[in-house]
């Protein structure tokens, strides 16, 4: 079945350092989504990328979708303590009719030392 691998599993940074998490799929994706889960909280949708090679920015966050639509990355510039949490990617593939199957990666836990 479809697998979505995410690395690293954990990342600890000093406040102000940059952070990147990577997501790889075994199959070509229709789109990729990114979520953030604060400690003790629930996943919150951040963004969706659809087009090959797409790059989107949200303030200090930059999201990329690979040319082959099999990989993606999330880069945070100059981390802040508010960035702490687990970042999940979720890859979507078409599964027939009007349905798509979304598979979540295991997430990257980011901790930030102030």
């Amino acid at each position: 079945g479809q697998q979505v691998m995410q690395i690293p599993q954990y990342q600890h940074v000093q406040e102000g350092e940059d952070f990147t998490t990577y997501c790889n799929s075994s199959t070509t994706l229709s789109n990729i989504q990114w979520y953030k889960q604060r400690p003790g909280g629930h996943p919150v949708f951040l963004i969706q990328l659809v087009k090959s090679g797409e790059v989107k920015k949200q303030k200090r966050l930059t999201f990329q979708f690979g040319e082959a639509k099999k990989n993606s990355s999330l880069h945070i510039t100059a981390t802040q303590t508010t960035d702490v949490g687990t970042y999940f990617c979720a890859g979507s593939i078409y599964s027939g009719g009007s349905n798509y199957k979304l598979t979540f990666g295991k997430g990257t836990l980011l901790t930030v030392n102030p």
């Binding site: 229709s30 996943p43 949708f45 979507s92 078409y94 009007s98 349905n99 798509y100 295991k106």
Partner: protein, 113 residues
């Protein structure tokens, strides 16, 4: 709008007991999902529904049952609780499946002892 509401937030069950986790959404979403989250293991899909009266198994359905009698509600039933069902359970909904983001509830933390 309240979004996706889950109850209860916490529950301790004894082995063999049963319970229902409630989930309701007020966004008129057709698609609803139940996930469980274990530490370091990401989100695993238990069951999902594409509309009232239609449900289907996800990745880890054993030991669970669902129903979808209305668009708003998607309860998850645990029969004969086992320690392996200790987890955090999230309900989610979406306007479409796999296109556009999912809205998650705040979760139910379940411990089976």
């Amino acid at each position: 709008n309240a979004g996706v509401t889950q109850t209860p937030k916490f529950r301790i069950l004894k082995i063999g007991q049963s319970m229902t986790l409630q989930c309701t959404q007020d966004m008129n979403h057709n698609y609803m999902y139940w996930y469980r989250q274990d530490p370091g293991m990401g989100l695993k899909l238990i069951y999902y529904s594409v509309g009232a009266g239609i449900t289907d198994k996800g990745e880890v359905p054993n030991g669970y049952n669902v129903s979808r009698s209305t668009t708003e509600d998607f309860p998850l039933r645990l029969e004969l609780a086992a320690p392996s069902q200790t987890s955090v359970y999230f309900c989610a909904s979406s306007a479409t499946t796999g296109l556009g983001g999912y809205t998650f509830g705040s979760g139910t933390r379940l411990t089976v002892v």
